[in-house]
Symmetry: C2
Subunit: 372 residues, 2 copies
Amino acid sequence: MIRHHIAATALAMATSFCFAQTSPPPIKEDFKPSVLNQPGQEYPQVNSQGYARFRIHAPAADSVRVSLGLGGRGGTKLTKDADGYWTGTTAGPLDEGFHYYHVFVDGGKFNDPGTLNFYGSVRWESGIEIPAHDQDFYALKDVPHGQVVQILFPSKSTGTSRRAFVYLPPDYHKDLNKRYPVLYLQHGWGEDETAWTNQGRANLIMDNLIAEGKIKPFIIVMTYGMTNEIRFGQLRQFDITPFQTVLVDELIPYIDANFRTLTDQPNRAMAGLSMGGMETRLITLNKPDVFSHYALLSGGIYSPEDIKDKSKVKLIFLSCGSKERPERIKTATEELQKAGFNAVSYISEGTAHEFQTWRRSLYQLAPLLFRD
Amino acid sequence: MIRHHIAATALAMATSFCFAQTSPPPIKEDFKPSVLNQPGQEYPQVNSQGYARFRIHAPAADSVRVSLGLGGRGGTKLTKDADGYWTGTTAGPLDEGFHYYHVFVDGGKFNDPGTLNFYGSVRWESGIEIPAHDQDFYALKDVPHGQVVQILFPSKSTGTSRRAFVYLPPDYHKDLNKRYPVLYLQHGWGEDETAWTNQGRANLIMDNLIAEGKIKPFIIVMTYGMTNEIRFGQLRQFDITPFQTVLVDELIPYIDANFRTLTDQPNRAMAGLSMGGMETRLITLNKPDVFSHYALLSGGIYSPEDIKDKSKVKLIFLSCGSKERPERIKTATEELQKAGFNAVSYISEGTAHEFQTWRRSLYQLAPLLFRD
């Protein structure tokens, strides 16, 4: 069940970007550079309605097209001016938040030189940000900032040093006797351990929540959720064992040995988006003595019968975008609640299988963690 | 003087990549994917002689060219096969180590979709790695690894939170009473605070030196060395004051408050490559009570008369590649030694104004720092 759901929603992500409305309004000429542009770059731009405008220099090209912008596979076709710049605007406004895209130049797939790259779809992709009405919660503000620590931890099972990023709350270096609960947070298919901070702004979400006193500070650990090359169509045959070994037998002991963590089960949570939700579900069910808080973000559901010992589960959090399958999340949450679980659902309004859904989900999830 | 030198060498870097020899040997067909390729990507490739081979998919393009590969501005022209792939090999072997490059597709400048990107020339550029005979010193090995910590520190003078990366040695979290000396390490023109770890592998160089017991562990701090958009030709008018304020009045106090540092002048060093050397020279001369160890990597020289109080300087380290102006470095070092300074020079054999020179320079510099 869960595997089919993941495959369906992620495939939808890869091929369609929904518009906020089908009959586009007149385009306002208040375009500004996207906040994700490389230093000094004027394009791509975004206007106040959520339209995106692209501009690519390729004077001798015959065809330039951007993958973003239409409800299907067509994207946005650019047209050339006398100076060799190709320009085009999406046919309608895009959903709020972060979108991956790329550029086809005479049939070759490249990134937009104007913008930063983000790892998704098993490649570094161009990214663009449509300002959201609620962007304040992940904005860079003048508040105390936590650290994002890159670690290389030894992994005997995979025969290498593996990378993870560790978010430490702003007060971590103040009181050297204080210990913290830990959330293990997984990316989606085709992404890696950079996604939750680069695309998701998880560190800024935490900094802001902590500054406002809305959460109990905790550590977040983000690592790469694959142990071999996985093609998208192979997810049905996915074997969780190798990654579970890396996470539970190698990473967790390393984190507990190198950071001031609370090491008991009630103080350890796991969450993941999309494929990371599938991994979270499998690992939490396999290892009920390791994690106490479970969260699946656009990543499927738990049924009451999945869980053997209800007393070991302190929270189940299920979320998705309103453009995904929200009824399924709501129904599953109600069933869990009826069975006596502390289950919470969250539906991100007006968003699909994209990072704005998951930024908002983390913002909703964080205050529910480690509350005792 | 120093400003002219920087401008000349960096301009050379931007327009030429020297070959190891002028009459190329027969090409060995033992090409392998570059270690900097994106996951699963077969191209670009490198052979055992240092030739690079590129392969780009652009079926409808009329012209594809790679910026790397000839002694001048031409680069490597690729030719198209029946499947729409453009392939080409450099006309000669490249220098050992890391090289930036990009791809021209029908006149537009793009990155190679096969490889990772690195910030240089004020843009994220493609990177390729030519295996070096001495690559062991910056290899990822099964040794204890330090952490690379991303911090966001408040900067009143620039009105924002600025980013820095902090390398912490592997034992930092073991003995919570131990304090460490600090090296402030600057990137070159067009690069940013990611360069020393991404291109330079500074963290792996340190991990390996510490594992072999060759250095006293210390902290490295890397931040962005510009406070406004600087075009290359404007370096002569460069004003060090804004960055000096960020570094000395904002970053150093933040580091000393948030990490277990030794905060006295004898335990603080500054080094920089190219433009970062120019900055190092100006700031160390302006602030003799802040830094005690100075290092310019392809970044100019000090003259004895530059320094007012010799007793405050514990080390001057000057380096460059043998394909730069090594005589100037050697002569300056001799003059400093004659004047009674503890001055050391290092010339990287067979390399130019590129990162292999600076990786080796850091490897030579680190054991000389904080020795007493």
